[in-house]
């Protein structure tokens, strides 16, 4: 019960501070818009060609945008040394981790949902029939990114070059998520039968469970080191 309360309060605090400052989501959205526009102008392509490469472009934009949000997740805790207060919370480090993961997931998922129509418009996609499967891919991949990204955000927050170190450490570890997300998104956009790409959805689900459990367990050591 105490842990659930801690999760709830961490999520509440991150949401309220974000609603008032609008620092994280606005910087994520603007960065992603720039990336999408650059890709859109760089690749003039027809409907079929777009479906072949759009999944990769989409997940590159989502991953780099997500890293911006993940970086801010713990750097905001440096303000007034709030990180010290989190370190001193008795017996709830795992709950703090789950609260942060939930908030990070929500920010990333909201940004993805806001940006997806831009991809549809700029790359002339037809997605009405596949929308539920695409949302499932977004959900599973974003859980994976936020689960491992939250741990590395905490790990790098006190490093001087944290803005550089977070992507350097994180991107190799989320490679399985990126590959699976791209393949599953491509399958859904092409209208392929689910059986042709369901193994990628299974890989995403397994990755989510494994890395959430491992990160939950490691978070206490990261916070105490």
């Amino acid at each position: 019960m105490t842990s659930l309360n801690v999760i709830r309060w961490i999520v509440w605090k991150d949401f309220v501070t974000e609603l008032r400052s609008r620092e994280t989501i606005s910087s994520m959205v603007f960065f992603a818009l720039i990336v999408i526009l650059i890709f859109s102008f760089s690749f003039s392509m027809d409907h079929q060609a777009a479906r072949e490469v759009i999944a990769g472009i989409m997940w590159v934009a989502f991953a780099f945008t997500g890293i911006i949000g993940l970086g801010k997740s713990f750097s905001t805790e440096l303000q007034n040394d709030c990180l010290e207060a989190l370190q001193m919370v008795p017996e709830a480090k795992g709950a703090i981790y789950l609260g942060k993961v939930t908030a990070n997931f929500a920010f990333m998922f909201v940004v993805e949902i806001l940006l997806f129509p831009m991809f549809v418009i700029l790359f002339n996609l037809e997605v009405v029939e596949e929308i539920s499967l695409l949302l499932l891919v977004f959900f599973l991949a974003t859980v994976g990114l936020s689960a491992i990204g939250t741990l590395f955000s905490a790990l790098t927050v006190q490093i001087r070059a944290r803005e550089v170190m977070l992507p350097i450490l994180l991107l190799p570890l989320v490679l399985p998520v990126m590959i699976a997300a791209v393949e599953a998104t491509k399958g859904a956009l092409n209208g392929d039968p689910l059986a042709m790409y369901e193994q990628w959805l299974e890989l995403l689900a397994v990755y989510d469970v494994v890395f959430t459990v491992v990160s939950f367990w490691m978070f206490e050591f990261v916070m105490d080191s």
Partner: protein, 222 residues
């Protein structure tokens, strides 16, 4: 109660302090003096379980400083240089959040009373971003009041506080001492500390020299 036995802290080859032996009993306030960079804050951070000592060991309330960190944290508050406040939350929200993480859920009446006691009740709904340094310090003090810790670590607590704020803080320390609390504070301000401290020590060149508060001379604090 705080009991340090031979604790030291080093960053690489740089020895901040070494062989510090210190006991602060229940109902006692110990004032830690020392020049800038002498390691006062580092010593408080070690005792607050935020830093590991490089040598020696310490107990707080009879609990081992390294093995029982979580239990110690539940009974200790550290009023640090950084106020541990979120600029985009107001005073009430900051208190509710910080105390909820520690498992406390004060009533609105308790929160109002604490804010009124530190004389910022009129600004309870204002974002902390707009507070002065002194108001932030008062809010951090209100948080400590609501947590009612057995052990209180205060790092230069008089900084940014005006005369009224200083008296509020001293009154609160006296209250904790009468409730058998243990208080360890670091400071440069002898005059403001003298009315509440029963013992003192000077941390200089990595070593702690203990003395009675009345034995301190201005030259000792230079």
């Amino acid at each position: 109660m705080i009991a340090c036995r031979g604790i030291g802290k080093a960053y690489g080859h740089f020895q901040v302090f070494h062989e510090v032996n210190l006991t602060v009993a229940e109902g006692e306030c110990f004032a830690l003096f020392g020049p800038n960079g002498s390691g006062k804050t580092t010593l408080l951070k070690v005792l607050a379980t935020l830093e590991r000592p490089s040598m020696g060991h310490f107990d707080i309330l009879g609990m081992h400083g390294l093995k029982d960190k979580e239990a110690i944290r539940a009974n200790l508050m550290f009023l640090a240089h950084g106020t541990h406040l979120y600029d985009d939350l107001n005073a009430r929200e900051n208190l509710a959040f910080a105390l909820a993480l520690r498992g406390h859920h004060p009533t609105d009446r308790d929160v109002k009373r604490a804010l009124d006691r530190v004389a910022i009740g009129a600004f309870a709904g204002m974002k902390v971003r707009h507070y002065s340094a002194g108001m932030k310090k008062r809010l951090a003090l209100a948080k400590t009041m609501l947590a009612k810790p057995s052990v209180l670590l205060l790092d230069e607590p008089f900084t940014a506080l005006d005369t009224a704020g200083t008296e509020i803080l001293r009154e609160y320390v006296r209250e904790r001492l009468s409730a058998n609390g243990t208080v360890l504070l670091s400071t440069h301000d002898y005059d403001k500390t003298r009315p509440i401290a029963s013992r003192a020590g000077i941390l200089r060149h990595g070593a702690l020299q203990e003395m009675a508060v009345g034995e301190l001379k201005p030259d000792d604090l230079a």
